[in-house]
């Protein structure tokens, strides 16, 4: 168990707010910095945080044992570079970013030697954003992936495990930065590209009344934050392009079997997909 720690959330959106709420239950001190005064006011009024600021507040930053960045990936490195002078000695810095290769190395290379950055990806979310939608129950069915490097101590890794348990994640696991980004390119990013492309392939709003659950399930994630996901995709471009190419080759192979009426090949593809999907049943 983690005892009596001070957490600073930088960027108090849906994920940061949900972590704040989950950690608050364990009586930790929770601070937050966000440029949006409404977000800070809402979080203070609703008891989500103990103290907050819309400015770079050296005093708040200096009080935190743990700093959690909920910032967009494009902002996180600069924020740490600009503000690490205020960090408490020994502070543990972490994040919630969906790609790791593009930031972990950079941050670890610039960070003060008496502090430590460890990459964390909570695989949780909603189709809405903002602290007003924060809800720690989004972590209950979710994975927390930790991407430590040789620059992280076992103590820091253990701390993130404990934090994940306090936040009641369903599963906490470790991957290397490279494994994480490859996996996320397939399981998350490719699925979003597919949903978006399926939605965009036809102007189909006139088909609404004929739509069943299959189409709705496949396109649910086509409602997507264009700013965040453009960044995430560009930061994992190489992996994602490769995943798209592998998928397109597979779907074209299916089309080829269909055009040639190769019944055995089609059946074999259905049998394979059925077998593989069974592994993912909950």
């Amino acid at each position: 168990m983690i005892k009596d720690k001070s957490f600073l959330i930088v960027g108090l959106g849906l994920l940061g707010g949900s972590m704040a709420m989950g950690l608050k239950k364990w009586n930790h001190k929770i601070y937050a910095i966000d440029i949006d005064k409404n977000a800070i006011a809402y979080a203070l009024e609703n008891g989500i945080i103990d103290e907050g600021s819309t400015e770079t507040d050296a005093e708040i930053i200096g009080k935190a044992d743990v700093i959690i960045s909920g910032l967009y990936p494009s902002l996180i490195v600069d924020w740490i570079a600009d503000n690490q002078k205020y960090f408490k000695s020994g502070a543990l810095v972490t994040d919630v970013t969906g790609v790791k290769g593009a930031i972990v190395d950079k941050i670890q290379n610039i960070l003060r030697p008496d502090c430590q950055f460890i990459g964390v990806h909570p695989m949780a979310g909603k189709e809405v954003s903002g602290v007003q939608y924060a809800d720690p129950s989004i972590f209950l069915p979710a994975n927390l992936i930790i991407t430590p490097t040789e620059k992280n101590t076992q103590q820091a890794i253990d701390f993130i495990y404990e934090m994940g348990k306090e936040l009641r994640f369903n599963n906490i696991c470790q991957l290397s930065v490279a494994e994480h980004d490859k996996m996320i390119g397939y399981l998350s990013q490719l699925t979003h590209v597919i949903a978006v492309s399926l939605m965009n392939a036809n102007d189909s709003h006139n088909l609404k009344e004929y739509t069943g659950d299959s189409f709705r399930d496949l396109t649910r994630i086509a409602k997507i934050n264009e700013h965040l996901w453009t960044e995430l995709f560009l930061l994992n471009k190489e992996n994602l392009v490769q995943q798209i190419e592998t998928f397109v080759a597979e779907i074209n192979d299916f089309k080829d079997a269909l055009e040639k009426e190769d019944v055995e090949k089609m059946k074999q593809k259905f049998i394979t997909s059925t077998e593989r999907r069974k592994y993912f049943d909950k």
Copy 2:
């Protein structure tokens, strides 16, 4: 309301069994023919049907006001050709097949002039098959699509509407045969091809512990009956090949934007997909 009709279900699987159960609640007589003696025995024991046979039973066939084919599409035309000599004069014949172009014309061309065939597609199902999984509540959220032609009377169309209401379908609507098959190629068949291809693109069972809801939602329908869906795809080949090509062009256009780091184009695609998906919110 339909009163005191006799229904014959030919091919008593999940859909036929669910229709039998739903119609039985309205005190219609329900007969069934299936080559599987276990299916008939189960349905009789559980009060799903009044009478059943594993043989081509001229007496049962001759008693039915309405004949519903739950047969595979490859069997339906021959079954009608072989057995229409037993049909009651004025019998209404219908089906549950997921494609229409390949069967409606053929059946209407061979059918006795004193009977009538009208195509019906209940867009409902489960990932399992067999009468033992039959459950009329699968129709509650579902669409019933009727595909009448100029060979159908208004009375027959009205009858199917009433039957759909008794079965408590969420929505009952009409499409031409061509419109139906084009729509189903996009909304249903393409989504299944995508789910199967996503599942087959990587041997990913080692990724199970990292998998979130998005991937599970997109691949749920990758568990698929290889015999039925191979038939359905081949019977709608032209439409489905075109839908796959349109989708692949769209996903390749996305990949192109990603490779060129065309931020504005990527954002525009996300904005479009978000807007379009909103139409499909329930």
